[in-house]
């Protein structure tokens, strides 16, 4: 093996080690999130009026659902604070997002809380709700944790959120970028 090939191998191994360490920490955060996030509060978060507007069609106004989007302050703040605390468990920048089922057929999902770095492998900027992602459907149906590496440089771990009845009512996405970008999403 030449010296340069050896360096490439070592760099690749270091990168792989970094990825698996990051993935392990995200797994831990997601696991703790399932224990800590209050599913009942999550279910109270988006107001009934806002949910109704998500499926309402207002002629000549494509922004009606967004303009009427609203949340219950107390529920939002309580859950967001939990998500922020969870993001401090790792030693690198990460976000813990909350996803909830959204009204619509076929099944849809909505991001309900995002955090400082605005990282996600699922959210498309500006959309109030999106078609259900297969990985989230799996989490909602089975309660299993799912690791997603769809977008290069990003790793997400999805984990279930349960309410007091033991029902799975949402999904947390613990997500980080392998190489943080200080200016990404400041726009």
């Amino acid at each position: 093996m030449t010296k340069s090939l050896a360096l490439i191998f070592l760099a690749g191994a270091a990168c792989g080690a970094q990825t698996s360490a990051l993935e392990r920490q995200l797994e831990d955060v997601a696991r703790v999130a399932t224990a800590m996030v209050d599913g009942d509060a999550c279910q109270r978060m988006v107001t009934p009026r806002a949910l109704a507007y998500m499926t309402k069609r207002i002629p000549r106004d494509q922004w009606a659902a967004a303009d009427n989007y609203d949340v219950d302050d107390a529920a939002f703040i309580a859950v967001k604070k939990t998500l922020i605390r969870l993001s401090t468990l790792a030693d690198f920048p990460l976000d813990v997002n909350l996803w909830l089922p959204a009204p619509g057929t076929p099944p849809r999902v909505q991001v309900a809380i995002r955090n400082r770095n605005e990282l996600s492998q699922f959210w498309e900027w500006g959309l109030l709700s999106q078609e259900m992602f297969p990985e989230m459907r799996t989490v909602l149906a089975t309660g299993a944790r799912v690791t997603v590496k769809r977008e290069p440089g990003l790793i997400s771990v999805l984990s279930p959120v349960r309410n007091s009845l033991g029902e799975i009512v949402g999904v947390v996405e613990a997500v980080a970028r392998l190489v943080p970008d200080a200016r990404e999403n400041v726009k």
Binding site: R60, D67, K80, K81, I84, R116, A182, R183, N185, K187
Partner: protein, 603 residues
């Protein structure tokens, strides 16, 4: 840009090879509001009947610019050389013809600074326009404050071997000076700096790779401020995202938590903002140095205090500690000429926070602004010479907010359309000491050139003190060969042309010239009857009376705000907007003639 008085010498002329021989060659001119197309005509939205001119005569006040287009008409393959002999400083720009996707038509807009003599061939090699027969240039003539009032004569010259053409240029300089300060602050808004890394990949390569290079970024930011300042405008860059992330160049760096949270480093902040706040960034401007009048602070629900502590003592402790340190730092630096804006841009639809800071629609969200105002007062000394101001951008519920937030919000940026429903509110807000601006968009390139004058004029007539174009630095993925209208940009990245900063657009130049005229009208209105001056200006502009520029309350206002939608608002605004739907291409030139007469008299 160089003063082009010294034209080109005989030796240079002889040394220039004219491979094109004696193909037809013709130099013409057009007034600034009539944009040329690349085929020898004028773009349709500026008036098909416009004639290219053999000579140009312009009246000018001092301490300002006059402008016009030059058009080189030539057959394909023709080489040419363009120069200007001007006794006044002249800046020459090549006009880039953008292929505009919305209507599949060419429009000139980006202006590439060009040294005279300019040598090229038809078609312009890099613009790549099939069957191009006309290349356009923008000429800015600077009339210095001390210029002697008289007629200055120069000439634009086109040389193509045996064929030659010239356009005599006469500038009649009046004794009036254009006031330095504007009646309407035209603000260009933007968000963050990631777009700079995208638009300047070579210049910011080190920064992109995480290998230092921040000085290049600071320098580039300053270039954008300089560009807008030189065009009588201001530039805003919001430094945080919808979930509170702050880019490192927009805020002092913090450390600690709770009571221990404090500012750890001013280094990047001072290198970024220092030259803007003391005015030294503008030392090379013909307008002289001046600190920027306004800037966004990075304050948001997640900075400087962590949202984790919202509603707890730790939130106020973190907020107060940092804002107090900021005030002290600004005071020690003597940064007392700038208004530091505490502005909340987040919207709950983007899921970062539970309340709207921007364009509040739900009444209870106002409580958060009141709470921040309370904390701000607790943080700042009452008699500070540093100007902090709570700013609110408002649309849906502005009438309610004007009352509810009295004394808390002192800087209002209101949607131009809905603000027209409350014309008396502007006077009341100003009487209590608030600053009132309006906001809106930017006319796309396919609009008539004169459209860029409407927002400044309407602001001045309505009494608002500023107008924000909400996004002005996003030319889209391919501005050069597939422009998406250009409605979100007034400048273009210069890197493609070896320029380490932004390129001005024709629309930005037209806006600057319009602001010069409004400054003249404003001065006239202070020495004569304001109503008479404004009445005459609108009559010349579009044949209206002042009363036509005042909107009335629509029936929609009887319904609760949460029952309105955008279609309702559009319908309610239609009768008012219809008065301004069609403006003649030379409308502003008529207003300018009046401004030059009135301004001269007033002085």
């Amino acid at each position: 840009m160089s003063n082009l008085r010294s034209s080109f010498g005989a030796a240079a002329l002889l040394g220039f090879a004219f491979a094109g021989g004696c193909l037809a060659l013709d130099l013409r001119a057009l007034p600034e509001f009539f944009r040329p197309d690349p085929f020898g005509g004028v773009v349709a939205s500026d008036g098909n009947g416009a004639q290219q001119l053999h000579a140009i005569h312009l009246k000018a006040a001092r301490a300002g610019y006059v402008s016009f287009h030059l058009i080189v008409n030539a057959e394909p393959g023709q080489q040419y050389q363009l120069s200007i002999d001007s006794p006044l400083p002249a800046d020459l720009y090549r006009e880039w013809f953008h292929f505009n996707q919305p209507d599949k038509t060419y429009y000139p807009d980006a202006l590439i600074p060009t040294r005279a003599p300019y040598r090229s061939r038809m078609p312009e090699p890099d613009n790549n326009i099939p069957k191009q027969t006309a290349q356009a240039f923008w000429v800015d003539i600077w009339v210095p404050p001390g210029a002697e009032p008289r007629t200055y004569r120069g000439e634009a010259k086109l040389d193509g071997g045996s064929a030659r053409s010239a356009v005599p240029v006469e500038i009649e300089v009046l004794s009036a000076d254009i006031p330095d300060s504007d009646a309407v602050t035209l603000d260009s808004n933007s968000y963050g700096t990631s777009w700079m890394l995208d638009q300047y990949p070579k210049m910011l390569a080190r920064l992109r790779s995480g290998d230092g290079g921040e000085d290049k970024l600071f320098g580039l930011i300053h270039k954008y401020h300089q560009m807008f300042y030189d065009h009588r405008g201001t530039f805003h860059q919001l430094g945080y995202g919808h979930a509170g992330k702050v880019a490192p160049e927009f805020a002092p760096w913090l450390s600690g938590s709770g009571k221990a949270k404090h500012i750890a480093s001013w280094d990047w902040f001072d290198r970024h903002y220092g030259p803007l706040l003391d005015g030294s960034a503008f030392k090379d401007s013909r307008r002289g140095t001046k600190p920027i009048p306004y800037m966004y602070l990075p304050v948001n629900p997640e900075w400087p205090a962590s949202f984790l502590w919202w509603g707890e003592p730790g939130y106020q402790a973190e907020f107060t500690n940092v804002l107090r340190e900021m005030e002290r730092h600004f005071r020690e630096k003597n940064w007392t000429s700038t208004t530091f804006e505490v502005f909340f841009n987040q919207k709950k639809r983007y899921k970062g926070f539970n309340w709207d800071g921007d364009e509040i629609r739900f009444a209870r969200d106002n409580d958060y602004l009141l709470e921040y105002h309370r904390m701000l007062r607790a943080a700042l000394p009452a008699a500070s010479p540093v100007h902090f101001s709570m700013r609110a951008d408002t649309s849906w519920s502005m009438e309610r907010q004007f009352d509810l937030l009295k004394g808390a919000v002192t800087f209002w940026v209101a949607g131009e359309g809905t603000l027209s429903w409350y014309p008396d509110a502007i006077v009341k807000l100003k009487q209590r000491g608030d600053v009132v601006w309006a906001y809106g968009g930017t006319p796309a390139v396919q609009s008539a050139s004169v459209a860029i004058t409407l927002n400044p004029l309407r602001s001045w007539i309505g009494g608002v003190e500023g107008f924000v174009r909400w996004q002005t630095v996003d030319p889209g993925p391919d501005p050069w060969f597939a422009l998406a209208g250009g409605g979100e940009t007034l400048v273009y990245p210069g890197e493609r042309f070896g320029v380490a900063g932004p390129l001005a657009s024709i629309r930005l130049k037209l806006q600057r010239n319009c602001l010069q005229d409004i400054a003249m009208l404003e001065r006239a209105s202070k020495t004569e009857s304001r109503v008479r001056v404004q009445e005459e200006a609108v009559r010349l502009y579009n044949g209206t009376h002042l009363v036509d520029w005042r909107n009335t309350r629509p029936a929609l206002l009887a319904k609760p705000v949460l029952e309105w939608n955008n279609a309702d608002i559009g319908d309610a605004l239609t009768p008012f907007e219809a008065k301004f739907a069609v403006i003649e291409p030379d409308a502003w030139l008529r207003v300018r003639d009046y401004a030059l007469q009135g301004g001269g008299r007033a002085q």
